[in-house]
């Protein structure tokens, strides 16, 4: 299948007086799986729809496979049906008046493929989404998960150069969503196609992306690999949005810094060693983020030199996959999540420690 790259430059989209996307720039490499992640109203879906051609941007440029499909100057606006893309909709948008087969065959018939080829390729696509038995069934008689698969098959059957996904799993229940996440990743890899995926679900984004673009209020907050986004958030918004993190406020102590590490000192006097992901703000009011799962709790003092502090267990909340501890530390509460069933109880005196690699100095 043909793989195409996507370039988005200075994209601005307005709805009436409201600016939904304010000057967004990013690229998607050929064959890359990129995810636009952010809370609702951040402009991620609007950006996707602008790439699809369903939304007309106010300004900027969009290129697919090097050729401009939208540009404000010189004025270019290729209609959606001629951009050679495909899309899976949040609502699935399965046509209720057609059979499953006809739904999937639509894109091929639009392209006037011979009926024998249509049949063969629809079969193949239905096999791939494990719906081979259901071709003749009316599309209005499908469960949510089945509709999802039909929507998928319909989207890739005609070998588009790019696949767009608009929150495709958000209407499924939690269990099915987890299953589909894995299947979707399988499918993506097998089709070897460029994809842009929109979601507000962090786990989904981490699971299926090569790269993630975190958006807020129509602008990009951070671009990076899932690992980078998770462990090295650039600012408070990303740290906060991307799963649970403890934010530690303190004064930069550049005088104590060695080996490329940064150091801040909290009001209570604790020294926290960490790393910087981007710029290194100076001053009395800096923030460090450390994920709740990156903190350790032990009864005995660990042997490491830095980032070891005494603390006391205040509350223990058993949550199945992990246990969440609230610990009194440095005059405040830290949240720690441990997968192991440490026999710690409320009131225990413990040592809390953290690898400086996971303590990230934020830019703002």
């Amino acid at each position: 299948m043909a793989r195409a790259s996507i370039e988005v430059r200075d994209l601005v989209v307005r709805y009436g007086g409201v600016v939904a996307v304010r000057g967004v720039t990013f690229t998607v490499g050929a064959g890359e799986h990129l995810t636009l992640l952010g809370p609702s109203g951040c402009g991620k879906t609007t950006t996707l729809r602008a790439i699809a051609g369903l939304e007309k941007p106010a300004s900027g440029e969009i290129r697919i496979g090097g050729a401009p499909v939208f540009s404000s100057s010189p004025a270019v606006n290729v209609p959606a049906e001629r951009r050679g893309l495909s899309m899976v909709f949040q609502s699935y948008a399965i046509w209720p008046h057609m059979s499953v087969f006809d739904n999937v065959a639509y894109g091929l018939r639009v392209r006037k493929r011979p009926e024998a080829e249509v049949t063969a390729r629809v079969r193949e696509a239905l096999d791939l989404v494990q719906l081979s038995e259901l071709g003749a069934r009316s599309a209005s008689k499908l469960s949510g998960g089945q509709q999802q698969r039909v929507a998928l098959a319909r989207a890739f059957v005609f070998s588009p150069s790019v696949l767009l996904f608009d929150e495709p799993l958000s209407n499924l229940d939690a269990k099915l969503r987890a299953e589909m996440r894995v299947e979707l990743k399988e499918l993506q890899r097998r089709l070897d196609i460029t994809s842009v995926y929109v979601t507000h679900d962090l786990e989904e984004a981490l699971a299926i992306s090569d790269r993630i673009v975190v958006m807020r209020d129509g602008a990009i907050e951070q671009i990076g690999s899932p690992g980078e986004i998770y462990d090295r958030p650039r600012n408070t918004f990303v740290a906060d949005f991307v799963g649970s993190a403890n934010l530690i406020r303190g004064r930069r102590r550049a005088d104590l810094e060695r080996d490329g590490l940064v150091v801040i000192q909290t009001q209570g006097g604790a020294l926290v060693h960490g790393t910087a992901s981007g710029g290194r703000p100076q001053g009395d009011d800096t923030l460090m983020a450390v994920r709740t799962v990156r903190l350790r709790l032990e009864r005995a003092r660990p042997a490491t030199q830095v980032n070891v502090w005494p603390a006391r267990i205040r509350r223990r909340v058993f949550q199945g996959d992990f246990t969440q501890y609230h610990v009194d530390w440095d005059g405040r509460v830290l949240v720690v999540r441990l997968a192991t069933a440490e026999p710690l109880v409320e009131g225990d005196e413990v040592f809390v420690s953290a690898d400086p690699r996971y303590c990230v100095l934020l830019e703002e």
Partner: protein
Amino acid sequence: MLVGGLAAVLVLYPIAYLVQASLSVGDPQARPPEAYGLDNYAGLGRYAHIFGNTLLVAALATALAVVVGFTMGWILSRTNVPGRAAFEQLMALPYYVTPLMGALAWALIASPSSGFVNQIWRALGGDGHLVDINTPWGIAWVMALFEGSVAFVMIGAVMKSMDPAMEEASQVLGAGRARTMLRITLPLVLPGVLGAAVFVFAEMLGSFSAALVLGLPNRFYVVTTAMYQLVSQYPPRFPTAAAMGVSLFAVMFAMVWIYRRIVSAGTYVTITGKAFRPRAMDVGSMRWPFLGVCVAYLTVAVILPVLTVTYASFQHLTSAFPRAANFTLVNYQTALALDAVRSALGNSLLLGLATASVGVLLMGFLSWLIYRSRLPGAGVIEYLVMFPQAVPRLVFAFGMLWAWLIFPIPIYGTLWLLLIAYLTVFLPLGLRTISGVILQIDRSLEESAQMCGATWGYRLRTVTMPLLKPGLIAAWLLLFIASVRELGASILLMGPKAKVITPAIVESWFSTSTELTAAMALLQTLAVVAALVLLFAVARRAVQQGGE
């Protein structure tokens, strides 16, 4: 854009001429007016009693219709009355009986001299008459029976959309059933009831046929019948009639505006989109009296009128006491032999076909334009197209009469003018039916076809039109039925050589026998039913052949 403009012309052109006519103070027959002024409005003072009559009849009818609508709405959506699903379907029937049929039937039942009830009253030794339908009360009664089903639909919808948890919460907190009804249920449905009342009142102000059939014998006029009289008398007094029409239109417009305000502002949104089945209250043995109420309403609104008209149509001389010698088929023979009736019926069916077919195309495209195209100015077009809702059809027809008389292409007095009139006055009806379906179709269904590479035309053919089909068929049927039975616009606009059936029925009522009129009314109804059956058969056959 072209279609939007066409709709604007259809609606605004007659209105402009109506206003112009109302301001003409020179020779009333002169076109264009010799001089302009407000004299016609100043002169309306002489007709104050007619405006009084209109308000009286509309208020009485509205009160009655809302009581009917509220009672039926409450019984059928909140109690466990037997057969409530069936009754809910049947509640649409009074609307199809039409005020004209109702008026004819109730004139037969309760006119002071020959009404069946009064015949029986005298046979039992009574004196004079027991009931008199030729009064404001009688007119209001007939209109309320018809409009009761409209009020029911509106109020019933509000009651159904109320989350029963709101009432349950009140009961859990210790309030009794009566207190819950008074403090929770009533305030929640009140905006809906108020909205229905205003809407019904506006419709009543512009209603025509019941007031014509029942009011004319006693020279009791409401605004619409007075206008009709002013226009059809010799010499006609167009400017005065126009001023009346504009005044009525202004009041109705205000009413519709108030209605929209109530609907958009007043509803304490009880509609959450969450599916819940309204709790049916167990009313115990009260079920049977409630069942009686439902049966009674359908009896006086549907069964009795239809039976009465049918009975009368088979009589030589209508009498409350059937005798074998009095039964006859001669009325049908006469009706079918009359060339006027045959051509009128034919014309009506032809017009119905044309209105429905052209209308579905025009209104379908308009709906799409307004609700889907995101074209700038779509809101303005919507407002324009829904405009005829606020104008009585007779008043609208008056504007058209004035407007098309001077139109360079001579369509006045032909079926073409009626076709244009029907297409204009039924714009809101068609648009509401079709847009209801369009709004249900998620935009992404069309967008996903686009993402599969389908062009505009291909999408329209393979996705949009098939999805719209049920709505378009429903709109077609509604337009067909409404056109064949239209009176208010037809009575002013039909030419002597291009008659249609409903005005012919009214003419027959005033100039020939009651029995012949009854036969004509039934023939009209039968023709509509037959045409629909035929069309369905043809359509089904076409579908089957297409499938083979």
